[in-house]
């Protein structure tokens, strides 16, 4: 099975997020980056499907030069090769433009299956997989927790809300968005890291793909949200703060 896994590089979870001077994106000077966690689960599912069925896993990523670090990581974990859609301002694009770039970059590969995480941890649109399917004319399933391959179709378990689930069958080629936790994530081995260095990474630019990025901006301004209700905060050393908190819980909130 030929599987494409679409991944994104996002600011690390512990980043100190500061808005840049023009209010259009973050001040990137002191950010570190990592793979979007839901995409790491999509990659894991892709690798396990390949191990079971044979075939190939191709990592697909749109982002600036620095995203090559994330691409290397997918190769070190076992992806066979990668496609990097290189562009400077990936963060400012709205969901449909990003999906157009990815769809064009991947169409010539004619994969059987595209996997991606259910949403990104930075922008959180949660649309890339659905839009890829629409633009390629393929069926999709979202928030998938299990993948059962059949001959030329898949049966997948979808998570619905409120503790409900549903099995859905869909013909290939198809797109799945993967729920975090679907499988246990692997670590890259030393051997994997070494091998990754010689794997192919094809770099394409947005203009190569014929997608116009003018006026495709997503947001007009980003800012820290107004804090509506401020908690009573206890400071000082842990012991004192803890004692004050318990005191309040007992005599003010009357909760203990």
């Amino acid at each position: 099975m030929k599987i494409v896994v679409s991944v994104k590089q996002v600011p690390s979870r512990d980043s100190n997020l500061r808005v840049n001077a023009s209010g259009t994106w973050l001040d990137e000077s002191d950010l570190t980056y990592e793979i979007n966690e839901p995409d790491a689960y999509a990659l894991e599912e892709g690798l396990q499907l390949k191990e079971k069925l044979g075939g190939e896993v191709i990592a697909l990523c749109a982002g600036p030069e620095r995203a090559s670090q994330t691409i290397r990581e997918t190769l070190a974990k076992g992806a066979d090769r990668a496609i990097h859609v290189q562009m400077e301002d990936a963060a400012g694009l709205h969901s449909l433009t990003t999906a157009k770039l990815l769809a064009k970059a991947v169409a010539a590969e004619k994969p059987d299956l595209i996997l991606t995480g259910l949403q990104s941890e930075d922008l959180g649109y949660g649309q890339t997989g659905v839009l890829l399917a629409e633009l390629l004319g393929w069926p999709h399933a979202t928030i998938v927790m299990e993948v059962e391959p059949r001959d030329s179709s898949l049966r997948v378990k979808r998570e619905l809300e409120d503790g409900w689930f549903q099995y859905v069958s869909l013909p290939l080629p198809a797109v799945l968005t993967v729920q975090s936790g679907i499988k246990k994530l692997r670590y890259a081995t030393l051997m994997g890291i070494k091998k990754a260095k010689s794997k192919e990474v094809k770099t394409i630019s947005a203009s190569d793909l014929g997608v116009d990025l003018k006026g495709a901006g997503g947001f007009s301004r980003i800012y820290a949200p107004e804090r509506k209700k401020s908690a009573q905060l206890f400071t000082g050393d842990a012991k004192r703060a803890a004692a004050e908190l318990i005191e309040k819980l007992r005599f003010e909130a009357r909760a203990l």
Binding site: P139, G181, L245
Partner: protein
């Protein structure tokens, strides 16, 4: 020329977020001087449509077809597209549910538009709406302008608006027939099901100690367990902890887990993504412990300590033991 709300139901029961979305639409409708209409998509929507007609909208479209009996992305997208092409709304609003996430981006793309998903606020002026949505799990906000000279699409996050109230007035119900082709519906859904009965009912717990990513490793969980034990509280967690398998899924609080309303809720190392907040904001008293003073959890907390949970939680456990003797 209207604002259209596509309401959501499952098996004859409303998703209550539909009424919050109607509230958002009514507020925008007043600002833009546009009527608000609502649509329900189903195989047989008579009863649900007449209920929807009481929520202050000016018209209800009862969109029916046998192939809408069960939700499919292909069926819903085709039906909603036919309705939108016929009625030409300026704006289509959806509740931001898992189902909407599955088809609304596809619908918007058919009109060459990007859905503005997961909206927590909106301002209307002239021919433009500015939507507010969250980035980085609620740590930042972003404004996105939508031009209403063409059609726009947005989905409204749970809890962002207070649900619209019902009135005595019944809006007219207009049947809307769509043509759907069974062979164009590619995904074949089976009946939805629930997994085995939950053995933990967090919904009735009086006190909950809930843990998030801040705990870093499974091996650190005893710190939390000791506090819970001292308090006689149930242990719960945010989604990532359960995804990692550190605690069972049934202990997850949030939009994809349980909804809780204890007397006291301790959120420890939980940043407070909206998906978590919707599951616990009914708690009487919320205590947050987090190293990031800007974490959104402090917005819903009554009391908070900013600092290292590995120092604070053991200190709390000691204090609780003292007063509980």
């Amino acid at each position: 020329m209207s604002i259209l709300v596509i309401a959501e139901h499952r098996g004859g029961a409303w998703n209550r977020m539909s009424f919050e979305t109607i509230a958002a639409a009514l507020e925008l409708g007043r600002g833009l001087n546009l009527p608000v209409e609502a649509a329900i998509l189903s195989a047989n929507s008579a009863a649900l449509a007449s209920e929807l007609a009481k929520y202050g909208v000016s018209k209800v479209y009862a969109v029916t077809h046998p192939l809408l009996e069960q939700y499919t992305a292909d069926g819903y997208t085709a039906a909603a597209e036919q309705l939108a092409r016929k009625t030409s709304p300026k704006l289509i609003l959806f509740p931001h549910t898992y189902q909407v996430r599955d088809f609304a981006p596809k619908l918007a793309a058919r009109f060459g538009k990007a859905l503005v998903s997961d909206v927590v606020g909106a301002r209307a002026s002239d021919e433009q709406v500015t939507f507010v949505r969250q980035l980085f799990q609620g740590k930042l906000n972003a404004d996105i302008a939508a031009d209403l000279n063409e059609i726009a699409f947005a989905s409204i996050q749970a809890g962002a608006y207070r649900a619209a109230a019902t009135s005595e007035n019944n809006a007219p119900i207009e049947p809307f027939e769509v043509s759907l082709d069974a062979s164009a519906i590619r995904a074949k859904p089976e009946e939805p099901f629930r997994e085995a009965q939950r053995s933990v009912d967090l919904g009735s717990a009086e006190m909950i100690v809930s843990v998030g990513r801040g705990i870093k490793e499974k091996e650190n969980l005893p710190v939390i367990e000791q506090l819970a034990q001292a308090l006689g509280a149930e242990i719960a967690a945010s989604r990532p902890i359960c995804d990692n398998g550190w605690l069972p899924m049934e202990r997850q609080v949030g939009s994809s887990g349980q909804t809780v309303a204890p007397k006291v809720y301790f959120a420890i190392g939980i940043s407070g993504a909206i998906q978590h907040l919707v599951g616990m904001k009914g708690s009487k008293t919320v205590v947050a412990i987090n190293k990031d003073e800007h974490a959104p959890i402090f917005e819903v907390a009554d009391y908070g300590i900013v600092g290292d949970l590995f120092e604070i939680v053991p200190a709390l456990t000691e204090e609780v033991k003292k007063v509980r003797g």
